[in-house]
């Protein structure tokens, strides 16, 4: 059925902030349906990497492919291969993103938040968009909140709306940047549950997280990122029970001590 090898692939992705090199030649290939968790110390470049995939940051150099099709190729801070705007837009819509701080639109109701992009970007008729939005909100357990404004919701509920909002564009890849870090501990579970359901449903996911339990349970692959490189990667068992790299060992130790 699928006529591509990797749903998302990066080759030699580098990112500088001025003199600071935050990402160093990152190569990553992800297969359809794979759940990749990225862990690592603060400042490692995890967020920057996710944001680069979604082009919220302009990479310095490197290539990004979606479904084996080139999305972006830059060298020395310049785009070297032009992609037609239509293809670019279509490929970008394959990715949905969930942010640490939810970033819901406060002036729109829950339903309007979820409907906004389908109606305006994909020109889905309002009736249909509403129906689909309600189905998604039902899936994340918030059908009763459709007419509330985000400020009336708890953090966990807001993050679930944010997930539904991203899903409304029917992306094939979901990027999560520390989706539970801004939540009170008792609200973390409900968001992780939604993400687990999503993973079980076959969604391709790249998740930056500090929830080691989630990574262990759900991830197909865990990456340890440090100082702008992927220091180590492997199955959760390999990484958590038998780490090879010193940086992985010291990071896991610090996390375990913290808990």
């Amino acid at each position: 059925m699928k006529d591509y090898e990797y749903i998302i692939k990066t080759e030699g992705v580098s990112k500088h902030f001025g003199k600071l090199e935050v990402l160093k030649n990152i190569d990553l290939s992800v297969k359809k349906g794979e759940v990749v968790c990225i862990i690592g110390p603060s400042g490692a470049g995890k967020s920057t990497f996710l944001r680069s995939l979604n082009q919220l940051e302009k990479i310095t150099s490197g290539k990004i492919y979606i479904k084996d099709e080139l999305l972006l190729h830059r060298e020395h801070d310049k785009t070297v291969e032009k992609i037609s705007p239509d293809r670019h837009k279509a490929l970008m819509l394959e990715m949905g993103m969930v942010f640490q701080r939810f970033n819901l639109f406060p002036h729109l109701t829950v339903l309007e938040n979820v409907m906004l992009a389908p109606v305006n970007v994909k020109k889905v008729p309002a009736e249909q968009a509403k129906k689909e939005a309600e189905e998604l909100l039902d899936k994340v357990g918030l059908l009763s909140k459709v007419d509330e404004y985000p400020s009336k919701l708890s953090g966990g509920q807001q993050q679930r709306v944010a997930i539904a909002r991203a899903l409304a564009m029917k992306p094939e890849i979901m990027l999560f940047d520390e989706p539970t870090s801004a939540l009170d501990p008792e609200l973390v579970g409900e968001v992780l549950q939604v993400m687990k359901d999503l993973a079980n449903g076959g969604m391709t996911m790249i998740v930056v997280t500090h929830e080691m339990g989630f990574a262990r349970e759900v991830a197909d692959r865990v990456l340890l990122m440090a100082d702008g490189i992927i220091a180590e990667q492997g199955s959760p068992d390999q990484i958590f029970d038998n780490p090879q790299n010193d940086r992985t060992k010291s990071f896991l130790k610090s996390v375990l001590n913290a808990n």
Partner: protein
């Protein structure tokens, strides 16, 4: 809340009833006219068919009070050249001195400052019309200016920046002169030619249009800074979320950023409105008369300092009314908070 609204409604109904009753009981114009001294009556009768009149009759009806003045070029038996009467609740009082004199002045001054019995390009009507239209047009222009100034296109950004710098950096009065005198001079037209009304009417209309253009262009520059600050105060995450969903720059602005920033613009725009309300007096320079100009004329012509009482009250009422409206809009836009 409920109780307060009820009390307010009852108070308003009572005021309206009292107002209507007093207005109905007000002496008629004929009664007012018949109250003057016999000499003046005789003179008015004598001059009935003549074109050169030595008696000027002023009759103002304001709400539930009437004002009637007879000024003569010669002095009457008491040595006065003016007789003033006020009519209130079925009676006519001579306003030679005391409270009646004070009331008569207030009524006459207020009547003139409000621009009663004149066209819309006069007095409070002019002030309110010019200020409201200026804020509306200036605000709409300012959105484009602000978006231009924060645009990534350097040329557009510089152009908009230069516009804002120019209009904020030069006096409004000179901008008004440029629009009213210099531009028609250079392009060879007159503002009044734009209208096919009788000459004096057309002059007023032309001057008003020129003032509206100058004020709007000026206000756009000030509002642009307000709009820009409000847009830039919106959390960056909003822009990122919208872009991650595939919204274009324009859609992000229209659907996400501007709707949220409008609420933050309301208080400073209200301030700008009040500034323009006061600046509207500059139109005296192109021979339009707003509240301030009229009160200044009354003061210099009649040496009456009382004129500032109704002037201040009128300004405060206008300011209070519009502040109330702006607050209501702000409340309405903050439902989601």
């Amino acid at each position: 809340m409920e109780k307060k609204t009820k009390a307010a409604i009852i108070a308003i109904v009572l005021i309206v009833i009292a107002w209507a009753a007093l207005a109905a009981a007000k002496p008629s114009k004929e009664v007012m006219m018949s109250k003057c001294s016999p000499e003046i009556q005789k003179q008015i009768e004598a001059e009935k068919n003549s074109t050169r009149k030595r008696i000027t009759v002023t009759y103002n009806s304001l709400g539930f009070i009437n004002y009637c003045a007879f000024s003569s070029s010669s002095k009457n038996a008491d040595g006065a050249s003016k007789e003033v009467y006020v009519g209130f609740a079925g009676k006519v009082y001579s306003a030679k001195e005391g409270p009646a004199k004070f009331v008569s002045q207030m009524v006459n001054y207020t009547y003139r400052m409000l621009g009663c019995g004149e066209n819309v390009f006069h007095g409070a009507k002019l002030t309110i019309l010019l200020t409201t239209l200026t804020v509306l047009i200036g605000f709409i222009l300012s959105i484009f200016l602000a978006l231009g100034k924060i645009s990534k296109n350097v040329i557009i950004s510089k152009l908009c920046g230069a516009y804002i710098f120019f209009f904020r950096g030069t006096p409004l009065l000179i901008q008004l002169f440029v629009v009213y005198f210099a531009i028609p001079g250079v392009f060879g037209f007159a503002w009044k030619d734009l209208f096919s009304a009788p000459d004096t009417e057309a002059v007023y209309m032309g001057a008003f249009v020129a003032a509206l253009i100058a004020f709007s262009l000026n206000s756009a520059a000030y509002c642009a800074e307000i709009v820009r600050a409000a847009i830039q105060s919106i959390d960056k995450g909003q822009n990122e979320a919208a872009r991650a969903l595939g919204l274009t720059y324009g859609q992000t602005m229209r659907k996400v950023i501007i709707p949220q920033s409008v609420r933050r613009m309301i208080p400073p725009i209200c301030n700008e409105f009040i500034m323009i309300l006061k600046d509207a007096s500059l139109v005296f320079a192109i021979s339009l008369m707003d509240i301030t100009t009229i009160s200044k004329n009354i003061m210099t012509n009649e040496l009456s300092y009382m004129v500032f009482i109704p002037a201040l009250i009128i300004y405060l009422i206008i300011t209070a009314f519009f502040t109330f409206i702006f607050n209501k809009i702000e409340k309405k836009l903050s439902v989601y908070e």
